[in-house]
Amino acid sequence: MSTPLLEVQHLTMRFGGLTAVDDLSFTAREREITALIGPNGAGKTTVFNCLTGFYRPSAGTMILHRGGRKYQLERMEGHRVARIAGVARTFQNIRLFVGMTLLENLIVAQHDELMRASMFSVAGLFGFSPYRRAEKAAVQKARYWLDRLELTASADLPAGGLSYGDRRRLEIARAMCTGPTLLCLDEPAAGLNPRESDRLNELLLSIRDQHRIGLLLIEHDMKVVMGISDHVVVLDYGKKIADGKPVEIQHDPAVIRAYLGEPEPSFETEPSASPRDEDR
């Protein structure tokens, strides 16, 4: 097993009287895909929003290890979680900059480095060479991801024109361009057809194997979850009900009860009732 990357301990999030996440603890590791699953309303997206600094949790700690240092995510503002701790995320309802080109989307993700290279625009205004070099490097990095997504040909077209599956993958590439330690994916396979879904799995596995990062995944599509994840955490009504390898989870009676309310699980297909309306 590799070193722990993210340690979530006793995470609790209440909205008024509703406890969306209740005393949740789990660990995600480097070079592993950790899946967070559970029925609708189980609190998965809320966990993501806490992790990425959009919500301030009511209680609990979230410690991220990066370069030998520890970051307490619950104490950081959203944009600092991304920039300093290196937690990148994608959104359930894809949030690309649709009016900007594919290349621009990937360059914006490298804002922090470029901003420093441009000396907060001063050096950039005069076109000094350190900035030009940094910009070239940023384009290189973007190019690498565009090549990988096989989208190089449309690099200069607006992102709004992409197909649904390509948008998903571009959003993942954009998150990767921030140079993250932990990549959080909120239902990446939602709305994809089987072919697109396979290409996505391929992409996620290759990210896991080629980059020293951890992946955290919310997913409904059990084919994706069971196919690629190394470790599964199951939530129900904000509480953790199971935690283990995919095979173990498939046979866990508590999980089966939570999903189906009956003893015979069928994890080959998507659970019957799962409209895409997600918990907040």
Binding site: T52, G53, F54, G78, H79, R80, A82, R83, I84, A88, R89, F91, R95, L96, F97, V98, G99, M100, T101, L103, E104, I107, V108, A109, H111, D112, L114, M115, S118, F120, S121, G124, L125, E135, V139, A142, R143, L146, T152, A153, S154, A155, D156, R174, A175, T178
Partner: protein, 437 residues
């Protein structure tokens, strides 16, 4: 229904089942609403005769209005009905213009700059033309400045005139009390305006977009009230006069030189003419405008400019990418304010006199209209819109209706062509260079 279809048959362009009944009904409803709207405010006019307030009527106007709404509504319905559905919203008049502008953007820009540069020497150019051109360029500068805030960063600033005023007054005050020249005071005016932008922006930029709009509106009013009432600093309603004119490398534009200085016409051995100063001011604003243009175009291609546009598109995604939205907004606000300040300083030096009258909400609205009509984010669009907005009142019969037309145009543009007259967005960086895949 069949009878109506029969009526429609001679019009080849109309589909067979064209619903005349519905069309007439729609036009009639429109006319009825127009009647109710027009009766009180158009039909009656409050007048004062010998100190007595009373009413006069003008129901003919109401009649004309109602009939034109009926006819207009009918015509609109016919026009829509006769066009293929998918083409309904593609502004037929401006689309070719926009396409031309996009294809030949650089050519048009250079032609425009060339024309602006030789304007003075053209045979038909009079003193009035140069004055007008100077006014247009002042608005172009303001438009480009506000474009950074509204067009690029997507922040609706309804009090832009505040920064224009801060620029004008800080120039006027530093120049009249400390004796600084235009070129010395210009950067100070810009800096103070930027500072005002930061002071306002810092607390309010966390707010949602529409709250920001109203706060900036309030800020514009606060500045206006301060100018009116802080008499010791601003001269109150009397304003500030005797603001120095800009010189050219120490040469002054005047009939006779003040002690120890040289005038422009003496130095070059010309005869004095008041138009020399006007021509010079024109070149000053042209140069300033070109610098502003270069500056904003350059910024747009830098990380900060891309962050502005990204923020306009999706603030939440920006945060998830590690971009601090408040700082990015603040930079847009400060830079927009600074450019407004430069324009204000130029305005002050050109007029030689400023008073709160020049810095009202109407001014903010005019600048916003320039940006919105021109196409948010489009440099060329701003020039076009500024020309329309300054030249429109020159047609005497339209002068009165200027703001009425602006207001209506803002609504119509949002409905029919939300991108503005020239709405093309050029990418800030290309992977494949100029050649398109």
């Amino acid at each position: 229904m069949t009878a109506e279809a029969g009526v429609a048959a001679p019009h080849r362009a109309l589909p067979k089942s064209f619903a005349w009944g519905a069309l007439v009904k729609d036009a009639a409803i429109g006319a009825a609403v127009a009647l109710v709207l027009a009766v009180p405010l158009v039909g009656f006019r409050v007048v004062e005769i010998n100190g007595d307030v009373t009413l006069t009527t003008r129901f003919t106007w109401v009649g004309i209005g109602v009939v034109s709404v009926f006819v207009g509504r009918l015509a609109l319905g016919l026009w829509r009905g006769s066009r293929p559905a998918e083409r309904k919203r593609s502004g037929a008049l401006v689309a070719p213009l926009s396409r031309f502008g996009r294809r030949h953007a650089t050519g048009v820009a250079w032609a425009g700059i060339g024309f602006a540069a030789i304007l003075q020497f053209l045979p038909f150019t009079t003193r009035g033309t140069v004055d007008l051109a100077t006014e247009i360029l002042t608005y172009v500068m303001l438009g480009w400045g506000l474009n950074v805030v509204v067009g690029l960063a997507g922040l609706l600033d309804l009090g832009y005139v505040a920064f224009y005023a801060v620029g004008a007054y800080s120039f006027a005050i530093t120049a009249t009390t400390f004796g600084l020249s235009f070129w010395e005071a210009l950067p100070i005016a810009g800096l103070l305006s930027a500072l005002a932008g930061i002071l306002l922006g810092f607390p309010v930029l966390r707010l949602r977009g529409d709250y920001l709009a109203i706060v900036t509106l309030g800020f514009g009013e606060i500045i206006h009230i301060l100018l009116q009432n802080w008499t010791s600093l601003t001269g109150g309603p009397n304003g500030i006069g005797n603001i120095p004119r800009p010189g050219l490398f120490g040469l002054v534009f005047a009939a006779s030189a003040p002690p120890g200085e040289t005038t422009f016409h003496q130095f070059f051995g010309l005869d004095f003419s008041p138009s020399q100063r006007i021509d010079f001011l024109y070149y000053v604003v042209l140069a300033l405008a070109l610098i502003v243009n270069l500056f904003t175009l350059r910024l747009r291609r830098l990380p900060i400019g891309r962050a502005w546009e990204a923020l306009r598109e999706d603030e939440i995604a920006c945060r998830a990418l590690g971009i601090n939205p408040t700082n990015v907004k603040l930079s847009a606000f400060a830079i927009g304010a600074m450019l407004g300040g430069f324009a204000g300083a130029f305005f002050a030096t050109r007029q030689g006199f400023i008073s709160p009258e020049s810095f009202t909400f109407v001014e903010s609205a005019t600048i916003l209209a320039i940006v919105v009509l021109g196409g948010m984010g489009s440099q060329m669009g701003v020039v076009l819109a500024a020309m329309v907005l300054v030249l429109l009142p020159e047609l005497r019969f339209l002068a009165e209706y200027r703001m009425l037309i602006f207001g209506a145009a803002m609504v119509l543009i949002m409905i029919w062509r939300p991108g503005g007259l020239l709405s093309h967005r050029a990418p800030t960086i290309l992977l494949h260079g100029a050649r398109r895949p």
